[in-house]
């Protein structure tokens, strides 16, 4: 247990070993470890980002779906309204057309009737004239009169 040169020998050896460890050991291993730590951190980051992206995409998809549904509903609504409107319009136009046709037909019937009345009136006048002629010309034979009157009637 004497203190001697060993002390200095150990001291020099210690300094040399520290230098050696610094130069050939520590840096390389720490570098590898730090690289790996960075890789892991990056990987976790990427996973995180991907998760967030997925969430965003899902949200976006859900939103688009909601919008599409709303749009479809509004389109159907509008279509229904339009259909009702078209039906109403058709009904309306049909009714007016019917009324118009009816009015036209009535007018024609009336016209026809008037024409017939006119014709009849003219013919009745003629017949009356012809009948009066015959009555005046022929005897008062009943059969003859009867015939004549029948003829008159048939001519109506």
């Amino acid at each position: 247990m004497n203190i001697n040169l060993t002390l200095i020998g150990q001291s020099i050896t210690f300094l040399f070993f520290v230098w050696f460890c610094h130069a050939f050991v520590w840096g390389y291993i720490r570098k590898a470890m730090e690289e790996r730590e960075k890789q892991i951190a990056d990987g976790l980051d990427a996973a995180d980002r991907a998760g967030r992206d997925l969430e965003l995409a899902q949200e976006k998809a859900a939103k688009q779906l909601r919008e599409a549904k709303a749009e479809a509903a509004s389109i159907i609504d509008a279509a229904n309204k339009r259909a009702n409107q078209i039906i109403d319009e058709a009904k309306e136009s049909a009714r007016t057309e019917g009324d118009r046709l009816k009015a036209a037909a009535q007018a024609e019937v009336e016209q026809e009737m008037n024409r017939a009345k006119e014709a009849l009136r003219s013919q009745v006048a003629k017949l009356a004239l012809a009948g009066a002629e015959k009555v005046l010309e022929a005897s008062i034979d009943e059969s003859v009169h009867k015939d004549m009157v029948d003829k008159l009637a048939a001519g109506l």
């Binding site: 247990m1 001697n4 020998g9 050896t13 210690f14 460890c21 050991v25 390389y28 291993i29 590898a32």
Partner: protein, 312 residues
């Protein structure tokens, strides 16, 4: 067993003596094992000490060959292994040895980051070196005490060949590291705060008075206190490790003396040795860790610049 051929005291002393190579002065009387003068040196001689007395008489100009051999050998074992792993280190999935090495380095790195907040790339490698190196040197304690010395005696052909295998039971080794760290502390303090900063740190703490004529009287007191606190750091660092390992080694040796005392005691000693070794696994790791942590703390103190201003 060595205990059979020597007395117990001799056995223990033999185990506590380093293989010392040093200078014996001219006129030194070398004794043989019976205590007779065997040779008188004509001139200063560099030689291996043949006894503890000779090793002591060599004074400072001697070196513990066994301590240095194991210290350097284990240091290289650690560094070459780590350097080999470092060379192949990749950022992919670590396997096998790389995993183990990275675990140690990650642990050290965390400890350094917790205790040392300044910019100095040398501190972490130093902490790793201290931890692994001291751990390995301490771990030599777990090798049964007679194995390697007996092997060395067999190889050297000298049955009294001194060979201590646990470098950290040699105060030269532990104090050598302690004082190196002390030197680094002084170096970093001066590098960070300038020489005057270092002087101020030694003389204006812990007592300080704004009036200079009061300060003049405080300076010597401060210096005495600070000098003690500085010097105590490397010494406590070195002696703590040395004391723990020396005591552990001593108990292993004492247990080993029982092996020669019959079958029952021998078996009992075997159980004791096993139990003490298991306990010692804790001690060797803890001592390496304590040495490392204290080094980190001392280095952090040396780098601390603001401390001076916090008092004003």
């Amino acid at each position: 067993m060595a205990a059979e051929s020597q007395s117990t005291v001799g056995y223990i002393q033999h185990h506590l003596t380093n293989l010392t190579y040093g200078k014996l002065p001219a006129g030194y009387e070398r004794l043989d094992s019976e205590g007779h003068v065997h040779e008188v040196l004509a001139a200063d001689t560099w030689t291996l000490a043949h006894s503890g007395q000779e090793a002591a008489d060599m004074g400072f100009m001697a070196i513990h060959v066994d301590s240095m051999l194991w210290s350097i050998g284990l240091g290289f074992l650690f560094l070459l292994f780590f350097a080999r792993i470092a060379k192949r280190a990749h950022s992919g999935i670590p396997r096998g040895a790389q995993n183990a090495v990275e675990m140690v380095i990650g642990f050290i790195d965390q400890t350094v980051k917790d205790g040392f907040h300044h910019k100095n790339a040398m501190i972490a490698p130093m902490a790793l070196t201290i931890f692994m190196w001291i751990f390995l040197m301490n771990a030599m304690d777990l090798v049964p005490v007679d194995w390697i010395p007996q092997l060395a005696a067999l190889i050297s052909g000298d049955p009294h060949f001194y060979f201590k295998v646990v470098p950290t039971t040699d105060p030269n080794i532990t104090l050598g590291m302690g004082f190196t760290i002390f030197g680094l502390m002084v170096y970093f303090t001066i590098a960070k705060k300038g020489f005057m900063g270092f002087v101020k740190e030694l003389t204006l703490h812990p007592f300080h008075h704004p009036k200079w004529y009061v300060n003049v009287f405080l300076v010597p007191i401060n210096f005495a206190l600070e000098a003690i606190s500085w010097i105590s750091k490397p010494i406590s660092l070195g002696l703590r490790l040395f004391g723990n390992m020396y005591a552990g080694e001593m108990i292993f040796i004492l247990i080993a003396t029982m092996f020669g005392a019959g079958l029952i005691l021998g078996l009992f000693a075997g159980v004791l040795q096993w139990a003490w070794a298991v306990f010692h696994i804790l001690v060797i790791t803890l001592q390496a860790f304590v040495f490392m942590v204290l080094t980190i703390v001392y280095m952090a103190t040396a780098h601390q610049i603001e401390e001076e201003d916090q008092f004003h």
